[in-house]
Symmetry: C2
Amino acid sequence: MSLDQVLARIDADLDQSIARLMDLLRIPSISTDPAFAKDCDHAADWLVDELSGLGFKASKRKTPGHPMVVAHADGPGRHLLFYGHYDVQPVDPLELWDNPPFEPRIEETADGKVIRARGASDDKGQLMTFVEACRAWIAINGSLPARLTILFEGEEESGSPSLVPFLRDNADELRAELALICDTGLFEDHIPAIVTMLRGLLAEEIVITGPDRDLHSGMYGGLARNPLHVLGDIIAGLHDEHGRVTLRGFYDGVPELPDEIRAQWQGLGFDHQKFLGAVGLSDPAGETDRTPLEMIWSRPTCEVNGVSGGYTGEGFKTVLPSQARAKISFRLVGDQDPEAIHRSFVEYVESMLPADCKAEFPLGHGAPASRMSINDPLFEQARKALSDEWGKPAAYVGCGGSIPIAGHFQDILGMDSILAGFGRDDDQIHSPNEKYALESFHKGIRSWARILATLT
Amino acid sequence: MSLDQVLARIDADLDQSIARLMDLLRIPSISTDPAFAKDCDHAADWLVDELSGLGFKASKRKTPGHPMVVAHADGPGRHLLFYGHYDVQPVDPLELWDNPPFEPRIEETADGKVIRARGASDDKGQLMTFVEACRAWIAINGSLPARLTILFEGEEESGSPSLVPFLRDNADELRAELALICDTGLFEDHIPAIVTMLRGLLAEEIVITGPDRDLHSGMYGGLARNPLHVLGDIIAGLHDEHGRVTLRGFYDGVPELPDEIRAQWQGLGFDHQKFLGAVGLSDPAGETDRTPLEMIWSRPTCEVNGVSGGYTGEGFKTVLPSQARAKISFRLVGDQDPEAIHRSFVEYVESMLPADCKAEFPLGHGAPASRMSINDPLFEQARKALSDEWGKPAAYVGCGGSIPIAGHFQDILGMDSILAGFGRDDDQIHSPNEKYALESFHKGIRSWARILATLT
């Protein structure tokens, strides 16, 4: 095998690779909207055809929702599973798109050429980096360097209702030594990164009821308990003056950052002023004794995501409302237990309630954090391959958000995942005018080719 | 003159009085909805006809909105102005009405007979108590015992946009020695009451902006300032642990309750457990060192009337929102200055803002409290007349809400008002199935007849 030949092939074939991606981008596979069910099916068929054309044994698998695509290719080495999703977000508001979302086009921008379309970055462009790497590899070498299984999901943007049952029902077929997932981004848009720490999430809602109806604040104000005041006290008390979450036992199971990771993160030279400045802020909030990167990658958080209550329309109504509501989420790390924190949250809220108010907790479900064990040498091989391609040392990074698939692979299939992707922060995934940098697509394909090369 | 004859006449004529009220209630004079402009006009015409029939010089007066009705009757004594309003609230949601809102009917209830219709209590039934008292008085005595001016407004339920200009433009015609206003209620549904203390109102809104767009809490949570947390801190800090409002200078100009009023209020035996129990509460909130009646009648308050921000729909979105909003109102007493308190509020909010958040204050307007000077002997005469009619000592009470008309009469026409009315707390004004107790209507007419008698 010759990696140089594979990379040259990728470069020579780039226009065709783009053309194939555009074919896929033209299929409006919006998974949340039943009107597009046929298009989701069409996208699955398209992928089955592509993979079959490369020599995979590919098939479309029924689920109660949109189909899965599963493909297998034999190879000499270890068994790896690649995951991506072919469904895309809805396009509303359509009037904010400069061009139709399912008519992909190449555009020149100040940051270079981009492919503009819904799904260009999330996740069609990313999953095609792997498909195109396989194509070049097979073209040059006749076969793949490892046994590969590919799983493409069609419901990632609509909560993945069929995923867990499908993994359970097909565990023997899908179980591999390691998973590869291409649904993440570069660090600061130019440094290749492998996500090894994924925070968990506990989602809570509180509904506080005081009086049994909305009251007139002129008649009852002062004397009657106002649930909006109670909610204000509850929110204010969630953090102490050092930015720490006050719930009893909240930090149980929160690990200190390993020294080697801390050193590597310090080496990244994360510019929090730039990070915050890009969204109109300047001063770090949160825990006063933690670095900004720790806060967004490896520390647990508590954020109020929504509040409502009383009159919120135009003008003014002097209502003293019966109810106040808040949605509050906790990002979890290490061994923090979502159930224990839910209990602690309920206990805290109830301790803040006056005797004649009550609280309901309609949510209170969550998932713990996951952390990849980077002992498998493929992690270091992949990191070196990425470093070689991008000309910069690739980083093991944390991820503030949750990527449930990686947790499911751990829980159900017993395997860790290498999460490597090439998106940029300004790709506008889930927003109008989504794009994927041509550089991301091109170097993404080359990155996977290099990673495949390490498997031989 | 013989008061007994007048009262007997009222009793004998009650069915006709009810029939006339029902005629007025059949006119859907909803002032906020332009579709009912003709009906408002019709109600004004109806009142002009009624008053003309009694010998008043009555006329409909144009305004930029709905017309005013002004009527004059000569009399031997002092000049008094009676005020009421003929417009009514909208009827939505219509499906919650047990009968059509503009088809009035007499119903038997556990608390006696009621007249059920939109406007029965607010304010057609109440204003008609005065008209019917005049009718009986004239029927028996041939004329009225005082010079009377009547002013009926048609925009009270839509913010009275024409009222202040009309009062200014017609001040010489409308100015009297004292006003009589029938738009309030009984105390605890059975004790006649004259409202002498009206709280003022300062309405505020704050819009707190942190990041310049909504952020993903997984990516930014912990590090980026969440305006919902800032809002929680602001709300929590508005009151101290004794329930006092913390704004600098907030209590400047707040008078202590005069001993005689305090003694009288204590004599009312206000049952705050019952008052709160009726709306599903039990424990007084507010200032820990004040009695419940003080809190709702004579103490200033600060209530959050609405909050909004972030995601508040079904399910969950882990958004870290750009903005948080709250509507907050202050009830003012004594000489509290709305402008000074607005400045103090702004100063407080800004002191709570992190450096990279900003706050806007789109409202911030208000009116001071008003207090009737009860030196005019007619106050005591009216109180005695009410006590005689209802068989219980009438009370001088406070009113938690604002009744702007009384303030306008003070400011523009230089006269105080006797605010006496016969509504009950459960009249469901502004709600479906509004009603007015037949007892309120009957004894209301008799009450005004007795008050008129004291003028001779």
